[in-house]
């Protein structure tokens, strides 16, 4: 099992999860973060660290976000690792909770 970054991270990217991850398994794209499922050791520290509740355990992943399971694995292979917190994206607050954000995902 692993933890999965879900849709609400898109266009927000607060990165507070990165700093609490003990195994540095977050990877960064232009407007989204992902967890490498092979490296995640299921400690659950990142879940409360995310200010907008975008991270789920595999068992709790909402059904309409199931595609994020593969998406996390796929993008973690391509994107660079991120180990330090940076500023959230400029319009993060406005994008928090907006539905159907997947179409804005930049690779």
């Amino acid at each position: 099992m692993a933890f999965i970054v879900g849709e609400n991270c898109i266009k927000c990217k607060h990165t507070s999860c990165v700093e609490v991850c003990p195994v540095n398994c977050f990877y960064e794209g232009p407007n989204f973060l992902v967890i490498n499922p092979d490296e995640c050791i299921d400690c659950a520290e990142c879940v409360p660290a995310c200010p907008i509740g975008a991270i789920y355990s595999e068992d709790d992943l909402p059904e309409d976000q199931e595609q994020f399971l593969d998406l996390n694995a796929e993008l973690a292979d391509i994107w660079p690792q991120i180990t330090e917190v940076k500023k959230a994206l400029p319009d993060a607050d406005e994008w928090d909770g907006v539905e159907d954000k997947l179409k804005y995902l930049e690779r």
């Binding site: 700093e19 050791i41 400690c43 180990t83």
Partner: protein
Amino acid sequence: MSILKKYQPTEKAQAFLDKVENAKYDRGIITGLKKYIDKKVPEDMQGFYSEEELQVLIDLKNTDHDIEARMPVKITNHYFQIAKNSKAIQTLVKASPKETFDLDGAPDPGNQMSYSPIEGLIHKYELGLIYVINTCSAHCRFCYREELIAKKEILREDGTIASKGLAKIPELVDYIQEHNRIVEENGGKHPETNREKLREILMSGGDAMVLANKNLAGWFSALADAGIESIRLGTKELAFYPDRFDRTFFNMTDDFHAAYPEVQLRVMVHFNHPDEFLQKDSNGDYIENPEGGLVWIESTKRAVKELADRKYITIENQAPFIKGINENPDEIRIMQRELKRNRINNHYFFCGRDIIGHKAFNLTIEDAWKLLNDSQKGLSGVEASARLSITHYLGKTEVVAVTNEPMPGVPGTENGVVIFKLLRGAADANNKGQVAIVGRNPEAIWFSGYEDRVIFDEAGLFKESMKTTSRVS
């Protein structure tokens, strides 16, 4: 935006940290029972829990006896490969309804919160234990830190209730430096606790070796710069995932040693049973190595050799005796012999603690003593260095001896006595070496079992009742 205070590494530390490389590890972790229930585990794991076993566990879900709420279920692929051919290891790692039959036990075993001056640090003895992570690659069912791993809320010294948090570098460094300053200003002893300088920190959790190399390196250099001379690394990863001890890890420790040559690494490993590191033939027997000793699992052997070959690293094994896992003296004898041959010192064996559900796991104190004593019959002195320890709230205590003969003229000793000795006072270093003698109770699994038969108690182990183990003093 981070609310955490940032720690600024020294120039020397930064030069070391810049060289550290993280690697990827495919531990093949399976967490939770749901994957077994939904048949989403790899094919060779499908039968690890039988349908009947799963049904019993499902029926307990969301009740007071919920097995996963007591302790999350987790295994690596490496450990599964061992477990599938070992009854003992299955008992160690598979969830069982026995765990919650009796929920007696302490929410904060060892009363750790009374020894926690800052979040994530337990300052006991002359040692600081820090929680650097709240999980391991796999989970032992008998875990002594189930409250941390399962993120249970516990009562704290200030009356608030919260789960135990992890240590943070800046706060810990401040604490160490402040403690050591006070000690130095007072002639080498802390005026209130008699403790000496903090020279040693045990990185624990959870398993320190699940941290990425960069995180480990951050801790190592910060601790070294704070004046720590020995860093202990508490880990069961040699059993769960020995490939974690890879080239990138040793490059990091070698670079650390080059930068901080006077800082020792003491790797505290955790083998409960020889099945965790020895190969077995098709009959389930260990295999003789014609060159001497027994044949090890290759990846474990390599990892141990790499560790032992480094002169700044020492390796110590410590493990509890647990019902159904390691109660055969012949197996414990083989384990002690093989570990020492491979340059792992036999440090402690532990009696069970009073964790929630401990009655499912604990051997009686007298059986545990007999087990270690029997296992050491036929071992040489250097192989038989392990002592049997039981953690009293006052400090680490040795179960020194159990006698079969009465002490002439002393009432209460008709069936023999048990002798305890305080190895290290948790709060006050002065207590070391003090003894308590009690009449035997073959049923006792905790100090409370001897409260009614105390003969001599210089150590004060029985001054306060240990029956209500849930108190926070």
